[in-house]
């Protein structure tokens, strides 16, 4: 700690604080323009100049100067004010005074400072900038005439996002921020630069001219897309979500978002939303009243339950409270056939982790990742499924020199980070590489084997996974594999990252076991500051597991229900918040199941391809329309808050489920999220938290480090080898999450349609250009997809994301993670 005096006030601050931070934390105001909490000190704008007794003769930038013992600082004096005024005058020489038409007006740092320092005239004259605005990209309006060259966009895109879109070009008065070759923005569109820009040089295009900042109502809630659980602040005008506001005060994401969270809100306002219940009459779905619809559903479910049985299939974007109600509805109905999302995809957690570590969740929290020495990411897709955790990894790498190891069948964002080492395996063979790492640890005596069960069996099963054998099978360099294992073993703190979700269904349990083995052998599991992270794809995947939205002992899981339905052994299916036709593996089976099942109820926001087959469709509310809690992939329970009313007669899933339960003669009541949450606490001890005490950072159940309750190594198994000139894998694309984002304009503006990604070499051999329609055939199915050509795909490997229902990728993928395909023009 360091003692110093600022404006006559004695203060004590940590020794790595800057003068600005010391002042800010003690309630002393120093103006800043180029400073940002989450970026490294930069010192570009000189608005924060102060006087320091010990450095007389010049003014000192407070945002870059560290405090020293006994420092005496003055933050305002006549001279300081004069200099700050002059700095502003300089900035305003070329700055176009666009305030009346600039959307930043009202929350612009330059405007506020000009007002604060009463800069009403300018002693300097100069030409106003007249640069073209960037009209190329769909989401970010770049107007460099308003730029004050603070460099925040450059820095955030590099330091936090790790993309590096921008740089300063030219010199002197000509200096400006440009993208590569000044061709306009073409990036991840995470919008971090927009949130950082202190002026109106970078603005969200979908919000252009929509409103003034002071007109917006702000509601803090949690992003409804992925399991990262970012805090999003809805900007609401006239009961409509018009934008997402920057908020780095609360939540786990430090104000960072990805394109889905930042620009993917528009589905909430979509005209395609369902507004009234629909009941099938004859061949038509016709609008009806809630009473009738609920009656039909209750009768249908009851009849089915008396017959061959009913099943309930849920998505993982319901709130904890709604899942709790749904679970109880299953009890009222008397069925154990209850499951969520896919039924296989989360087996990594519920079976893999449970068998090895005895827990069903990630063992660490996200902020800890930033301070690890080694991060092992399984699949490059981890960035695409959980972009904001990816940004934390980037910060660990860039700021704290962590070593990033990537085990993946294809390249990607993570592989491009500084010093990242990619163990590039053949497609779908990541499992073997993980086993190889375990084998090296044991072979070289690096493993911490004390107190581990199942060591002998593991050793036996690992005989097939020596570095050389793994190298031959997967194509990973044997020495690189050994080196990676040594780095993992030698790390003080390390993190193992694995995502699970609908496109990653095959081998999910096996992968989790291998990752858990690795975490046990390296001692990562349960060690302070380290952790194994199994991250669910959807906003409340973890909640679904915690609450046990899973088949009862004698009940059917998702796949079993679909099998039963397809075989005519199930009489009703109630699908809540999921579109299995579009997203589950093996579409043919799903379609058959949904056609065969005599009574199908779908509860959704849209008339999805699943809903189109239903007997009754119930209109549900989106995340922006309900209160409750989500649990993110690091076990953080966070409050979801309603910002807007539901369209038409749509109701929250919780209300619908409770009403349905009443029709079925149950005793559930929709008593509001707080009361229901209290009920959950009685059932699930980890959730015995006071609802009102869930603060801005949420509550992490189990604490920062979740100690494994078991330390049992699982046996190593090999991934099946798929041969072929072209091998297709599926997964998530960065700009989308599940199928919901395909209703949102932002993500669609960047990635509007399905595609198949291939290497340049393959494109050249096939004579295919970017955007050409190609035929991909395999597994007895032929798909027509647009080609996307880039550098990240290894030769012979193709990638097709699963989000788009029209792509039919899930027709091809049934239970396999890799398919041998042929491809032609």
């Amino acid at each position: 700690m360091v003692n110093l005096t600022i404006d006559g006030k004695q203060i004590t601050v940590p020794k790595n604080a800057t003068i600005y931070e010391a002042a800010r934390d003690n309630g002393i105001h120093i103006p800043v323009l180029c400073y940002a909490k989450k970026l490294l000190p930069y010192g570009a704008c000189r608005i924060c100049l102060v006087e320091v007794e010990q450095m007389k003769g010049r003014l000192i930038p407070s945002c870059t100067t560290p405090v020293t013992e006994g420092m005496v600082v003055t933050t305002t004096s006549e001279e300081i004010v004069k200099v700050r005024k002059t700095v502003l005058e300089f900035l305003l020489v070329n700055h176009v005074i666009d305030c009346p038409v600039c959307d930043k007006g009202g929350e612009c740092d330059l405007q506020d400072l000009t007002y604060e320092y009463e800069v009403v005239t300018n002693r300097f004259e100069g030409e106003k900038f007249d640069l073209p605005t960037d009209e190329v990209n769909p989401l970010i309006e770049r107007n460099m005439n308003r730029c004050v060259l603070c460099g925040k966009c450059v820095r955030v895109c590099d330091e936090v996002v790790g993309y590096g879109s921008y740089s300063f070009i030219n010199r002197g008065f000509e200096t400006k921020i440009a993208t590569a070759f000044d061709r306009g923005l073409h990036c991840e569109f995470c919008g971090q630069c927009v949130s950082m820009c202190p002026v109106g040089a970078l603005l969200p295009r979908p919000f252009k001219f929509k409103a003034r900042p002071w007109q917006l109502n702000e509601v803090d809630t949690v992003c409804g897309y992925c399991g990262n659980g970012c805090t999003v602040t809805l900007g609401i005008l006239d009961k409509k979500v018009e934008t997402i506001r920057f908020n780095d005060k609360i939540g786990v994401n430090d104000g960072n978002l990805c394109i889905r969270g930042r620009f993917g809100y528009s589905y909430v306002n979509s005209d395609d939303r369902l507004t009234k219940p629909l009941v099938r009459k004859g061949n038509q779905l016709v609008e009806t009243e809630w009473d009738e619809a609920l009656q039909v559903v209750a009768d249908g479910l009851k009849k089915a339950q008396d017959g061959k049985g009913a099943g309930i299939l849920s998505g993982a974007r319901l709130t904890n409270e709604e899942m709790f109600l749904l679970k109880n509805l299953a009890k009222t109905l008397g069925t154990g056939n209850l499951d969520h999302s896919g039924g296989e995809c989360y087996k990594g957690v519920t079976e893999g982790l449970l068998e090895t570590l005895g827990v069903q969740a990630s063992t660490g929290t996200f902020p800890q990742i930033e301070n690890t020495d080694v991060v092992l990411a399984i699949r490059n897709d981890f960035y695409d499924t959980h972009p904001v955790v990816g940004m934390v990894i980037n910060q660990a790498v860039r700021r704290n020199n962590a070593q990033l190891l990537v085990v993946s069948g294809k390249g990607g964002k993570l592989s491009k980070l500084p010093r990242a080492k990619t163990l590039l395996s053949g497609p779908g063979l990541e499992l073997d590489v993980l086993n190889g790492l375990c084998q090296v640890l044991l072979e070289e005596g690096l493993a911490k084997t004390d107190g581990l069960e199942g060591l002998v069996a593991l050793k036996q099963s690992l005989a097939e996974f020596t570095a050389d054998k793994v190298a031959t099978k997967t194509g990973v360099d044997a020495d690189a594999l050994r080196e990676a294992a040594r780095q993992l073993a030698g790390a003080g703190n390390a993190a193992i990252m694995l995502a699970y979700g609908l496109p990653y269904t095959p081998l999910s349990k096996e992968l989790a076991v291998a990752a858990a083995n690795l975490s046990l052998l390296t001692g990562i599991a349960g060690r302070e500051g380290s952790g194994i992270y199994l991250c669910g794809e959807k906003a409340n995947s973890q909640g679904a597991i915690d609450l046990g939205l899973l088949p009862a002992a004698d009940g059917l899981g998702a796949q079993a229900m679909l099998d039963a339905a397809a075989g005519g052994k199930l009489d009703a299916l109630y699908v809540v918040g999921e579109d299995p036709v579009a997203s589950f593996p093996d579409r043919d089976k799903v379609e058959k199941a949904l056609e065969q099942v005599p009574f199908l109820v779908v509860q959704d926001l849209f008339l999805s391809s699943t809903a189109a087959k239903a007997n009754v469709v119930l209109p549900a509310a989106s995340f922006a329309e309900k209160d409750g809690t989500f649990t993110n992939a690091e076990r953080r329970i966070q409050r979801v808050r309603a910002g807007v009313p539901s369209p038409g007669e749509a109701k929250t899933d919780g209300e619908i489920i409770a009403a349905l339960d009443a029709q079925l003669g149950g005793s559930l009541a929709f008593t509001g999220p707080e009361a229901i949450f209290a009920e959950i606490g009685k059932d699930v001890p980890a959730y015995a938290v006071n609802y009102t005490e869930i603060g801005p950072q949420g509550v992490v159940w189990g604490g920062e480090i979740l100690q494994p309750v078991a330390r049992k190594l699982g046996e190593a198994v090999a991934a099946p080898m798929v041969e072929g000139a072209y091998r297709l894998v599926t997964g998530s694309a960065l700009h989308h999450s599940g199928t919901t984002s395909t209703h949102a304009k932002g993500p669609l503006a960047v990635v509007p349609e399905p595609f198949v990604e291939m290497s340049r070499a393959d494109a050249a051999t096939l004579g295919v250009k970017e955007g050409d329609l190609v035929k991909v055939a395999g597994n007895g199915v032929e798909l027509k997809l647009k080609a996307k050509v880039d550098l990240r795909m290894p030769q012979g490997v193709l990638f097709a994301p699963y989000h788009f229902k029209e792509s039919g990728v899930n027709r091809m993928f049934k239970t396999e993670s890799v398919i041998s395909v042929t491809i032609s023009k």
């Binding site: 305030c99 009346p100 038409v101 007006g105 252009k208 001219f209 409103a211 007109q215």
Partner: protein, 131 residues
């Protein structure tokens, strides 16, 4: 004292005689208000559009909250008021809107004959205000 009363009365008498009265025979005769008179608003037109750029300062400053602005983007990518309406029944003719406007797009005319029969007729839309 009497002197003071006499002086006062003399002024009164002066105005009693024809030609010295300040009362005019409205509506046959109409006065020209002062330049600073705050009457009906007018949106200043420009060549092909209104001058107003929909900055929302006037609705923000208006104490009677009687101005409705809705901004939008025109074909040229400029910001313009898709909707601009003043509810004259609520307006208190304070002139703050004129003072707030950064581009001098709204002014107050000398029109003071604003009585009407229907409530809707007091809704001054953009088209009416541009006249």
């Amino acid at each position: 004292m009497f002197l003071a009363i006499a002086k006062g009365l003399s002024i009164t008498f002066k105005h009693v005689f024809p030609g010295n009265s300040t009362t005019v025979q409205y509506p046959a005769v109409k006065l020209t208000p002062s330049d600073r008179f705050r009457g009906l608003h007018r949106l200043v037109p420009e060549q092909d559009r209104e001058k107003c750029v929909a900055c929302y300062l006037c609705p923000t400053v208006c104490p009677a909250k009687c101005i409705t602005v809705e901004s939008a983007e025109n074909e040229k990518g400029e910001k313009y008021p898709k909707v601009y309406t003043i509810d004259l029944l609520r307006c208190i003719f304070c002139g703050y809107c004129v003072e707030a406007c950064p581009v001098e797009a709204i002014e107050m005319t000398d029109a003071y004959e604003l009585a009407n029969f229907n409530r809707e007729d007091f809704e001054f839309t953009k088209e009416r205000l541009l006249k």
